[in-house]
Assembly symmetry: C2
Homo-oligomer: 272 residues x 2
DNA sequence: CGGCGGTTTGACCTTCCTCAACTTCTGTGG
DNA sequence: CCACAGAAGTTGAGGAAGGTCAAACCGCCG
């Protein structure tokens, strides 16, 4: 039984599994329910998914490019980056994934990995066999659509990144990433958009923004100098969300928020 | 009945429609079959889709951002660009779509348009009501998966663009785009990868690559000077595919080619 | 023939990269 | 509790890639 995984030792206990499953699958279900409406039967079908808990240390590859995928990777804790390897040794991060995300859900329809997944912090994941997810999608068409929509969110974020990398200077890119992370953490119930943990290092921000480490550092300082953000311990505080999102030209539409407005946000997307 | 469309006059005739439908839907079906296996019943279900033919002149928006989507847009002729509008008036193209593509298939699961679609050349499209596609997906689970996989291809291309825009100089980006277009046109049966029409202007290439027009021009000349490409009329000739794809670091994996190898390409993806 | 969209060229300037050193933080073992 | 090593963050100087502006040029079509 091969793992496409660098996990450090046997850390799965019979008793731990069920609790971790609850802990892991509920946020994922919540993420799906932000966009899709599922029946109670479908809820339980998702919550009953089986998987193997594994941990990855920072900088370890969860999936190396070029290998076939047998398991989807549901993040329990930590941050995972999808990356593309460049010939000169550099990496470009093409997507960031937070707890509650399945970072390779698209593998349900295309289980070949031309991409890589790297733990950007100490990470706990639940490895769910692709075949189980595919079976679930086959039995419950609504779940198939929910999965598809979930990957559409990722695609939408990816398109926004293209836009930011193509047009947009270092300040705009960094500001946008901070806004995006803040809102996504808030959505996931992990923090607020104006106060969230800075979970990844500047080198990794650089790989995400297509900048050098040095320039990320200077740009970060420039945002601090202007009173937009601040750091307290490992927390990033956004002191002026208005100005930061203006610099970023941040329009949360691209996160495909809303539909079922359980969060009671006053400003919501209205599909006419 | 509102159109989200700038089409120039009443150009749909009863007699024309059926032939255009054949002409339009067959390449789309072929595109799906490149990745997915569908039953004969599903084939005909797709070929029997109804839509309205419309034309868009170059530079006309097919879908403006911020409007709701009621129709999916199957390209019959021409090139369509997905773009994101930037505050300073610039545009960043986030995806290019060729004949046979439905350029907003994701609207089946998320019919809200935060993006825009622009005709990058004189374009003929078939506007298919989203509700019909959704119904099709509901009735035929295999079609739902095929649609999902089709949007996954787009997402995969998008991720590659992020990688190229983030790390990669002008030469690499342009070379990669030329390789991508060549292979995609070849897949679509429109041309070969070493000789294909240059359907879009340098200004639009600039908007896709995140470069200035001037720099695209100079980079193009530099590729010509090195004997990699040539122009004959409106055709782009790739004289040295090897060297061009090396410069581009072009690895066709990201196009998610293969599965059913009808093209007889010797080098194919082998999911281990 | 004139005009328009697309392409080409040159000069100058900004942004960001590279390299290399240095500092601060963090965790680990003595 | 300190010492140390490794990782992360910070700083400065010089250089390269690409942007901006402005002007010409070309082919196409009315």
């Amino acid at each position: 039984m091969q793992h496409e995984f660098d996990f450090d030792g046997a850390d799965e206990q019979g008793s731990e599994i069920s609790t971790v499953h609850q802990f892991a699958l509920k946020p994922f279900l919540a993420r799906l329910l932000r966009h899709s409406r599922l029946s109670l039967e479908e809820h339980t079908a998702i919550l009953n998914l089986k998987g193997r808990v594994a941990r990855a240390n920072i900088h370890h590859d969860i999936v190396s490019s070029g290998r076939a995928i047998s398991h989807a990777c549901l993040i329990v804790q930590g941050v995972v980056g999808r990356f593309d390897q460049i010939a000169d040794g550099h990496r470009q991060i093409t997507a960031l994934h937070l707890p509650g995300d399945i970072c390779n859900l698209h593998s349900v329809v295309w289980p070949d990995a031309w991409l890589g997944l790297e733990a950007l912090s100490a990470t706990t994941v639940l490895l769910i066999p692709i075949v189980e997810l595919r079976a679930l999608a086959a039995i419950h068409p609504a779940i198939a659509l929910a999965f598809w929509l979930d990957t559409t969110v990722d695609a939408s974020i990816c398109a926004k990144w293209v836009s930011k990398l193509g047009r947009g200077d270092a300040r705009g890119r960094l500001a946008h990433l901070l806004c995006e992370l803040g809102v996504r953490m808030e959505q996931a119930g992990l923090a607020t958009r104006t106060e969230f943990p800075s979970m990844i290092a500047q080198a990794q921000i650089a790989d995400a923004l297509g900048l050098s480490i040095v320039h990320v550092n200077r740009t970060m300082q420039s945002l601090k100098r202007d009173g937009l953000i601040r750091k307290r311990g490992h927390m990033i505080l956004v002191d002026d969300w208005e100005r930061l999102s203006t610099i970023a030209e941040f329009d949360p539409h691209f996160l495909l928020i809303a539909v079922s407005d359980e969060t009671g946000k006053s400003e919501k997307v209205t599909p006419r």
